[in-house]
Symmetry: C2
Subunit: 343 residues, 2 copies
């Protein structure tokens, strides 16, 4: 069923039917109702492609997911983020188109999306330090919104981020207040902006307490269970082992916990652990009471909100770039306790 057939069926012109369906005022209430009824009855939906051609808008948002060539790693956060953004899109009649891309061909992809006029805007995932995409997209004139921030980037751009610095500063302080002095940081890849900010929060807290920063206590890498485990195990076997760990993800925290247990230690007593918790649907931090003390911020909510912000800025292009910073909730679980006394 297309417009032509539908309008023939109704004995109206395509113009009128189109207008009735799109809420234009030049149509009487009676005919509008009649048209809407018929559209529902025949299950008529305008062809996205034709509509896009005619209006010049794609009614679609692109998500370009970088998959690092070396690690073949898909960010585990991605599923939930997409789910959140998807909610926003379907509420607003937008479609989400996804491009999986190894980081070599990124620029190609963005240029393609632009010149094929496939999308009205894009969401930038996994911003890195000095990320070249901001400059590229502004140059292309393709509206975009970033999930995260780009460290050294002077031109303003629309973004949504968790306050990573603040969260990790607060977490570190909490551990310091409990008497911990040797606090390890199990961070994400240092090329990622969020990891950079978390480290700076961690360092700021130590600094404020006049505690020297020990590079041996900081590690960074993909946030997997195994890597968390290996790092923690290595650290726990050193002479001056840390009494607390600060993790960038629940998954690595689980690895850390395993290392602690295997050393015959008890988490929350001998060794404390705080982790960032993205509230992934398949990775809850315990049931009613949280297991890990955590800095919590739902990545799904982030997806929903960021999509809203992007849609808004597309609808209203004169709007200045938006900056949404979400504060984490600090939840105390069973994984932290006072630093053990040295005997």
């Amino acid at each position: 069923m297309n417009l032509k057939e539908l309008s023939k069926n109704l004995g109206l012109s395509q113009t009128t039917v189109s207008r009735a369906l799109n809420g234009y005022p030049e149509v009487s209430a009676a005919t509008r109702k009649r048209v809407e009824q018929a559209a529902k009855e025949f299950n008529y939906h305008p062809s996205t492609r034709a509509k896009g051609l005619a209006t010049g808008r794609a009614l679609a948002i692109g998500h370009v997911i970088p998959v690092s060539t070396q690690h073949e790693m898909v960010n585990p956060v991605f599923g939930d983020f997409i789910a959140g953004a998807g909610e926003t899109y379907s509420r607003n009649g937008y479609e989400m188109i996804l491009s999986i891309v190894d980081d070599m061909n990124e620029e190609q992809i963005y240029r393609g999306l632009k010149s094929r006029r496939a999308v009205d805007g894009v969401i930038v995932h996994g911003p890195r330090i000095d990320d070249p995409r901001i400059a590229l997209l502004t140059k292309l004139g393709l509206p975009f919104a970033v999930h995260g921030q780009v460290t050294r980037c002077d031109t303003p751009y629309t973004l949504l981020d968790v306050n990573n610095h603040e969260a990790f500063e607060q977490a570190t302080k909490y551990l310091l207040d409990l008497g911990h002095r040797r606090i390890a940081l199990v961070n994400g890849l240092e090329s990622m902006d969020f990891a950079y900010r978390r480290r700076s929060g961690y360092e700021a807290a130590l600094h404020a307490c006049d505690i020297a920063i020990d590079p041996a206590l900081m590690c960074s890498g993909e946030m997997t269970e195994v890597i968390g485990y290996e790092n923690a195990q290595a650290l726990l076997q050193t002479a001056d082992a840390p009494t607390a760990f600060l993790c960038s993800s629940l998954i690595s925290a689980m690895g850390v916990r395993r290392a602690i247990q295997e050393c015959g230690l008890t988490m929350g007593k001998d060794v404390s652990v705080i982790t960032h918790d993205d509230v992934l649907s398949y990775l809850q931090n315990g049931g009613d009471t949280p297991i890990f003390t955590a800095t919590r911020s739902s990545v799904r909510t982030a997806g929903r909100r960021l999509a809203e912000v992007l849609l808004e800025s597309i609808k209203n292009p004169s709007l200045p770039p938006q900056r949404v910073i979400l504060e984490c909730e600090f939840v105390v679980g069973q994984s932290t306790g006072p630093a053990p006394r040295k005997d």
Copy 2:
């Protein structure tokens, strides 16, 4: 830059330029080269929407991701599957469009995709027992391919699945051969087809050894770490506790491992664990040597293959429905050992 401008630039007709770019034979090799050069130079890409309108094909595949309303759960497997499928699409000039949908509005979404002519086909995720989507999609005449199988469904359809029955039968047999007699099954939601098949494999192996099936040893639910933990903990505290666990996912297996450790037992010695491993990029089963004994099958490869199969069947609609069954690799890790002797 559009076709008109490009052809004016070249002093050729739109026809010729279009044909040159699309590999039609009615163009001399010389002009083709010239056209291709110019297209590259001006970074010309045909508008997807216009092309779609003209050809009647969308050059896009839809992925409809069900997010259960009660659990708000995004299948953790999904990210990697999508990454695999995405590789295939970009190699073939297709786009992937994603719809996140709570299971109430599923039918609406599929009908919409069809009548808006937004996609050339869809991938069906998370098939359930007696899933109504097969019937719906065949009725709609929308090409589709299923990731998994639908238990009672007589009409043939294109699918790709892991041989779940075989894998879990083999795993159970392996445990039986090690002398285990009380084997617990920590399964996914029983409404999912894969969970059903895994249980049937488990039961078949027990049956073959004349071991009665004890419902108390079987649990099913979302495959989270916490649920795995809770189930295992409860089971380990019973009088006649299992000596082995069979898990449907690495995540629940990690929960099971935690329960084992907390009971002061050693995995691989006191209690054995086998899990299915989807080879998710952020959830490796150990480093060089696997931690868990596992039935292994990469979900990313599954995504790549299934997308290929779907594209093939779209290109060649007369093809009969394809059935691709992937066999799991059985890898022996450190989580299994002979059943402990009763003292």
